[in-house]
Amino acid sequence: MAPILKVVNVTKYFGGVRALEDVSLEVKKGAMVGLIGPNGSGKTTLFNVITGFYPPDRGEVYFKGRRIDGLNPNEIFKMGLVRTFQNPRLFFNMSVWENMLVIPQDQKGESLLKAPFTRLWLNEEMEIARKASSLLKDFGLEDFVINKVSDLSGAHIKLLESARGLMGKGEMFLLDEPAAGVAYTDAHKIFSFIRRLRDEYGLTFFIIEHRIEVLMDYVEYVYVLHNGRLLSQGTPEEVMRDPKVIHAYIGE
């Protein structure tokens, strides 16, 4: 199957610091791919380059066959590439319900002239609301619809962030540590949930995770970054046996 995301020779420097150098990778449609590496190895920078936060110094990024490096983050989101953050960036003082409804693109009610006239955007709004309520049920968040996001627990916030991503036309998700700060069993719950989403909705996931032991049970392919370079790649078993990876993680 053709790759949905293709990164070709991406290089990024911050001043004199090398964050990424000649990183090339591919993610196939419908796959679950992991990205691991020690702290400071450039994983989040790679996500930031892919989603348009930083332009790469060199190299190209393709999504669904279209070149996306140089586009704005909102344009990349509209194409269906959704990312989450290491520290969840939800709209914390808004309700769970509003957090879901705000996502869909180019709503009619976002126009200055149409916004005051409910009739003009009512149908669209109800459609969005139905989608949101069924997603919240799927994610087991239906009891919290009227709560403020800041009142939710950590795991629920992580779930809400993924649910929110599905409100748009998300086809591929870049998840930055979906199970950070979550208990071991809950981490498994989140990952099996991600797998279920992949199977049900046909989505693609590219996941950064520090808990390698959890991640390896779920992904099909892993890339390892170290000091901005691609150190190793392969199936989880191959990577775990690679002496270079062991060296990078454990040291001498």
Partner: protein, 366 residues
């Protein structure tokens, strides 16, 4: 004691209340909803006032075939006579300038603030603050609008009515109607998908950008509406006091409006209006007390801002979110989750019921 004109007091309070309520509502749209700290509100207020003064006087003088400069004494004298002759002209010019000041102030707001949005929020505040002050200094030296003396003789829309009381009553009702219409518009605006998007931008600009929102565009829209509303307030002020000069539009006005918004509750249109009501009441009342009891040891006008400061401190001490705190935006989408809401409530009650029984058992002794 001099006879005190209660109705006159109320009319003057209501007019100032409407003007400031429109200003604080417009500031609330920008600050409370879209999260843009606008410290240059007074600039757009001034633009509205100057546009209405300049346009209305030009129309009257040119229709009469008079060629005086607008700031001259002759023009002012001529306006006194001209403004009482044709009621239709007065009213239509008033409506025209209302629309014009909205559009011009809105457009200038859009143009001037749009480029500054790309810098951080602190720089945005400083930039618009200095824009307001620069505009005032420019007007102080700009001859066609009378430099420091300003323009006098703005044709009151009801100048043709001889009874001053009826004239003021009509004008105050018109301003209250304008305030009501703008309030309804603002309420509908914030309780719509646009209002939701504005709130999301205030909450986390980067996340909103990641979720595909065109942040600069939404901010531009809000600035257009906010500045336009401030322009309308300026227009009403110009007609109400009949004479404007650059020294009315000092930065203090902006901070008064901020105080009203903070007092009433940031992120709530009703709060912005209540805040404006309280502060303008204190303002008018201190002036009136001085008028009723002349020769007090302390002139209430001098401690006016101390009183307002005290009110703000007391309110924020007990209600940190302001008198009327922010609520969720309401759109028809909430109707869909009503069953879910009830289900959640039932589940909570079911969960709590063993505890309730237990506490009953303990309290009643079985």
């Amino acid at each position: 004691m001099i006879a005190f004109d209660v109705i006159g007091f109320l009319l003057s309070w209501f007019t100032f209340f409407s003007i400031y309520a429109i200003l604080s509502m417009s500031l609330n749209l920008e600050v409370g909803y879209a999260g843009m700290a606008n410290f240059g509100k007074v600039a757009f207020y001034g633009i509205g006032a100057y546009v209405s003064a300049y346009v209305s006087m030009s129309i009257f003088l040119s229709l009469a075939g008079l060629n005086y400069p607008l700031y001259s004494l002759e023009a002012t004298m001529a306006m006194v006579k001209l403004s009482t002759q044709n009621p239709m002209l007065n009213i239509s010019v008033f409506i025209l300038t209302l629309i014009l000041s909205f559009l011009i102030a809105g457009a200038i707001g859009y143009v001037i603030m749009y480029p500054t949005l790309r810098v951080g929020p602190a720089f945005f505040g400083i930039t618009v603050l200095s824009f307001g002050e620069l505009l005032r200094i420019f007007l102080r030296h700009y001859k066609p609008t009378g430099a420091t003396y300003g323009l006098t003789g703005i044709p009151h829309p009801f100048a043709w009515i001889e009874d001053v009381f009826v004239k003021n009553l009509l004008f105050t009702s018109v301003t209250l109607i304008i305030l009501t219409l703008l309030f309804l518009y603002a309420q509908r605006l914030v309780n719509s998908p646009l209002g939701r998007t504005m709130l999301a931008i205030r909450e986390d600009e980067v996340a909103a950008l990641c979720m595909g929102k065109d942040v600069p565009k939404v901010k531009g829209k809000v600035l257009f509406i906010g500045s336009g509303m401030a322009g309308i307030a300026g227009c009403i002020l110009a007609y109400y006091i009949g004479s404007i000069n650059p020294n009315i539009f000092v930065p203090t006005v902006t901070f008064d409006v901020w105080a009203m918004m903070i007092l009433g509750g940031i992120g709530n249109n009703k709060g912005a209006i209540v805040g404006a009501g309280i502060i303008t009441l204190v303002d008018r009342a201190t002036a009136a007390i001085n008028f009723i009891f002349p020769g007090l040891i302390i002139d209430p006008n001098f401690i006016r801002w101390m009183i307002i400061g005290l009110i703000i401190i007391l309110v924020l001490l007990f209600k940190p979110a302001g008198l009327i705190p922010q609520k969720y935006t309401w759109t028809p989408a909430w109707k869909i989750i009503r069953p879910l809401e009830e289900k959640a409530k039932r589940r909570r009650e079911k969960l709590l019921s063993p505890f309730k029984k237990m506490s009953k058992w303990f309290l009643m002794g079985g």
